[in-house]
Symmetry: C2
Subunit: 214 residues, 2 copies
């Protein structure tokens, strides 16, 4: 396997090309840090973008949902054209000029066709991966889906073939002639943070907080 994804017309941006990356290591790292994506598809000729969970297993992404959900029904043969985007916001970038205000971020955009996963072993692996993508180790510490739940769950697969990452880092890029303007300039770091776990009302008090949540 090559170390980078091959570029295509739609994975090369028309501008800020220096922010684009195609190496698998960068793409995988961005994907592995997250679990929430925005999935785009076409319904009745119009674009639709929905937030949903994803998991990466090697060079495949999985998304799941109810068998009643419209995008997942659409992924039956011959597959559904999708665009799956993951974005991590790292900082607000405040330049002296409004024009040079920006964001530091890392994003991955995957174009491709999503297919229903029908093979039982792959479905089970994908469902475990979806739980573990959010909380590593959780799949083994929960009741796995029973036959009724499996029948109600669709899983779709998207191969990592046409993929790009985009990254902005660093400080503001003001125009040299703006250096003397009397405005504060710099960045404000942004992060996703987690609060202390809150047990459900009916949790047996004998059950300790698992190590993977501590």
């Amino acid at each position: 396997m090559t170390t980078s994804y091959e570029t295509t017309d739609r994975t090369v941006p028309t501008r800020a090309r220096e922010r684009a990356a195609y190496d698998r290591e960068t793409v995988h790292a961005i994907l592995d840090e997250g679990y929430l994506c925005h999935l785009g598809f076409i319904r009745d000729g119009a674009p639709v973008v929905l937030p949903t969970l994803y998991a990466r297993v090697g060079e495949r992404l999985y998304v799941h949902g109810s068998t009643g959900s419209r995008p997942l029904r659409g992924a039956a043969d011959p597959g559904l054209a999708v665009c799956l985007t993951v974005t991590h916001l790292d900082a607000l970038v405040l330049a002296r000029s409004a024009f040079h205000h920006s964001m530091n971020y890392r994003s991955v955009v995957v174009h491709g066709t999503a297919y229903q996963v029908t093979e039982p072993a792959e479905r089970l692996e994908a469902l475990d991966a979806l739980v573990n993508q959010v909380v590593p180790g959780r799949a083994d510490d929960s009741r796995r889906a029973n036959a009724r739940e499996l029948a109600a769950t669709s899983v779709i697969r998207l191969e990592l073939l046409e993929v790009s990452a985009k990254l902005r880092t660093g400080g503001p890029n003001d125009e040299p002639e703006d250096a003397g303007l009397p405005y504060w300039t710099g960045i404000v770091p942004v992060d996703r943070t987690y609060g202390a776990p809150v047990p459900a009302d009916d949790l047996d008090p004998a059950i300790d907080l698992p190590a993977y949540l501590a």
Copy 2:
């Protein structure tokens, strides 16, 4: 103006309808809490989803970008069909069963046609709103765009007409028969947090951190 957005076929979900909301107050609050959206559109017959900033001004959303960017060029007459989605993640929901794992979130999905804003006063208002959506008060404390920068900037407008919010709150919804299973259950709060502002290397030390960043 009515207090709620009229529902349409595509704003009523096929499932979990109890999570959907259409009142303007709820929709506006979700939009006003954020500034990063995922914008979907169709290019060469395929869906594309890109992260970008937005601002709300009344019943309009604005998105901006380079005049060279493909989606913004596409929004010239007769307009560009888009779906603009904003998602706030509030908690991971860990049920005893993998099937009932979920997320607490608040999202807004806007369907519609985006148009280029050409009227100069509206463009200026939108650009100020885009800066202030991220950091309220910042537009007045930065150098506004000059003629060259304005010529390089496209602004598109999306009316809030076909809009829905979706919200999940609360704890896990396990099956009653799973109550005795030996797995920790509850929620893990998630939030977007901001670090201490980091001045640019060339910031004049006489310039204090502005109150809107303190």
